[in-house]
Symmetry: C2
Subunit: 424 residues, 2 copies
């Protein structure tokens, strides 16, 4: 889809953002000065509430595997065992990673939110922003009555906007699911805030998915969506995906639910890449003909993360040599029995390497250069995505039946510029 | 060491470049037009010879593990079993990777060199340049009598200059070894030529190292030197390290030889990083207190390759959060039992994280910012290295006794700019 202006984009977003039955959101803001960096001056934090109108036993969460996780991630992991959950409380600006007393701060804030609402089930806290800074706990508590006041149940859009940090646009995707719906939002990726990469996603549904199914299906869907993207190969200290059900509509069964959850999650995951810092193209590396799926995924990820693949795509250069070099390097590292003769490489469906030979001539090269150019995204990113096109690169190894794909962004001077700016 | 101008640098280089006894070199050049890309026009190729005056049984080689290696790499691997070797023949501009008939072309050229010199032992071919192009075999053969004519045994410098591609300066390092010497040269890394990353290194000695020791020691030394660097995390299709002995001086024993070979190789490896494309700082990540050495190496490599570490260093930003995030991500991926409490992080010897707390205050941050700035390299690179300073970052995991280090370059806008330029 092409979006010619922010109105066209906003119309699409609003059509996706209708909250499922049994949910409400609220957004407020507060000013604070980080104690660890007083010369940063007065900063503006958004505090956002997402709540089921009744406590729910049907929820699930997947958290970062980073061994140095943020404090909210530790609290969230503990809460997965709770019998009931009431919702989530999200702040930007401060990631609450590595700050002393951060565990207590996250617990205290979640508890204060519960008390302010008079709820009996706990809230899951999420934080995104600078590592090492402490949360301004008292100012956040003071803002809570305003959150209680401002609850609304019409649209997810204000919440999706409030959790943004350096995102250029809010991300919302929905899918129908039996007699209900799944609506999700995500923020991140690549570096957000000058210090941190963080991906947060909240997936809401009114269908009454059993707790065990919610956990099993979310875990599988995350593997095939959010874990199949790459902006800079980094895994943040705070990556979090939460699924909440209000249990208002009948459950259509595992297959229908998994399919709708995958539709929502994979679209959000691609949105996150498209809005990654300095993203000039979205491309998908499909590795097929692999001996098994983990091998296909590892290989696709290696090629997607290779700086020489990424910079070639940024330059609209159909550089077969660099792609084959990255495949060869990864096969060497992974001990895959690469075959020069069996391997087939296509870009945009056009065969560029097969039977051990480069197929590129002047005409094909020009046509592929055009194919790449047509898929370029404007930089710096405007406040909406220009289009939803992506580049397709497929490597068939001719070694088996398994396949996997990674969706990634190119590597631009803008990415480096954003991330070398000394934080102030 | 600081080099204030190219004369100071050249003086140092010449002091290193004296050829050991029993070696000669020659350099010539030729013009050609790539058949695969006639509109590239007339290109200028350097053809370089390195030869022992008598055939030698004492040689060794280590080649890329890339599963899509260049044709010369396949020929080189075969020749490791030869009883005697005479030398190496190197060209730039064309990597001879993936070109049809490339295996025959490399064999034919090596054989033509042998015949032109009237030698009985074979030559190892090396090629560096564009992937997918065919070698101009006839023009190269025509240039060989000139190579035979131009042999000289005084200095390695003309050879070191001729094998350069996008390198800004030649790289030569020597070490004394018993009654003899080891002199080595290297070219590359990062992308060289618009299409390829290639690291080539030739290590020459006059000490009579037994063939088996040469193989064992070279393999170990490469692991601890050339395989402990990272410019962009890529492994080229043509990476090659060759060790040749003229057997003119007595062998001082394995320990002395290994020590001198490591001294030469590790200095060359660091030179290669310092002259990596768009390199704005050289930094070393030391992981200590690790349960075992492979774990320490894998972890150091992950942090060294993390774009957020690299861009922070480029920006002279002592960004502890990003480094801890990269360590946490790698520990999560590698299943290392990271401890918040035991981990100690130092930058330039200054403790910035320990006992679970960030130690950074305004004064320390300013001092570290100065430390990073003093180690910055000018970009674009002048024709000599400005200095040999590097940044030291140490992560002590507090989990064991093993340690390892990776020497790497930062990630600059210049790197991306160089590598996104559409090849012409």
């Amino acid at each position: 889809m092409d979006y010619f202006d922010s109105d066209a984009w906003r119309g699409f977003l609003e059509s996706q953002a209708l909250l499922p039955e049994g949910f409400e959101i609220a957004v407020t803001s507060l000013d604070f000065t980080p104690v660890e960096k007083p010369d940063a001056g007065v900063l503006h934090m958004k505090l956002s509430l997402l709540r089921t109108t009744e406590p729910t036993s049907s929820f699930a969460g997947v958290f970062t595997k980073n061994a140095f996780p943020g404090w909210p991630v530790l609290v969230g992991r503990e809460l997965l065992d709770a019998p009931l959950i009431q919702g989530v409380l999200v702040n930007n600006k401060v990631a609450n990673v590595g700050a002393s007393g951060g565990l207590e701060a996250s617990r205290r804030l979640a508890e204060a939110m519960r008390t302010a609402l008079g709820d009996r089930a706990p809230f899951i806290p999420s934080s995104t922003g600078v590592i090492g800074w402490s949360l301004p706990v008292e100012a956040m508590e003071t803002a809570m009555p305003d959150l209680v006041q401002k609850r609304r149940s019409d649209s997810l859009l204000p919440f999706a906007e409030a959790i943004m940090t350096t995102d250029a646009w809010p991300k919302i995707r929905c899918a129908s699911c039996g007699e209900g719906r799944i609506v999700g939002t995500a923020k991140g990726a690549g570096m957000v805030e000058p210090n941190m990469a963080t991906m947060l996603s909240y997936l809401l549904t009114d269908v009454d998915v059993p707790r065990d199914a919610a956990r099993r299906i979310l875990s599988d869907v995350v593997k095939r969506s959010f874990n199949r993207i790459s902006v800079d190969g980094e895994m943040s200290t705070s990556d979090t995906v939460i699924l909440l059900s209000s249990r208002k509509r009948p459950y259509p069964g595992d297959e229908a639910f998994a399919s709708a959850l995958f539709e929502t999650s994979s679209a959000l995951a691609e949105d996150v890449v498209r809005n990654g810092e300095g993203c000039g193209h979205v491309f998908r590396i499909i590795v097929s003909g692999a001996p098994d799926e983990p091998t296909a995924t590892a290989l696709a990820r290696s090629v997607a993360n290779a700086p020489l693949t990424k910079t070639a795509i940024r330059g609209n250069d159909p550089n077969i040599g660099r792609i084959l070099q990255a495949i060869g390097a990864a096969c060497g590292r992974l001990g895959i029995n690469f075959s020069r003769e069996r391997t087939v490489l296509t870009i945009g469906g056009r065969e560029v390497y097969s039977s051990g030979e480069f197929k590129l001539d002047g005409a094909l090269e020009e046509s592929l250069n055009r194919y790449l150019k047509e898929r370029e995204l404007p930089l710096p990113a405007p406040r909406w995505p220009a289009h939803e096109k992506r580049i397709e690169i497929e490597v068939n190894l001719g070694l088996g039946e398994a396949s996997s794909a990674i969706i990634a962004s190119d590597l631009s001077e803008e990415y480096v510029k954003i991330n070398t700016d000394y934080r102030t």
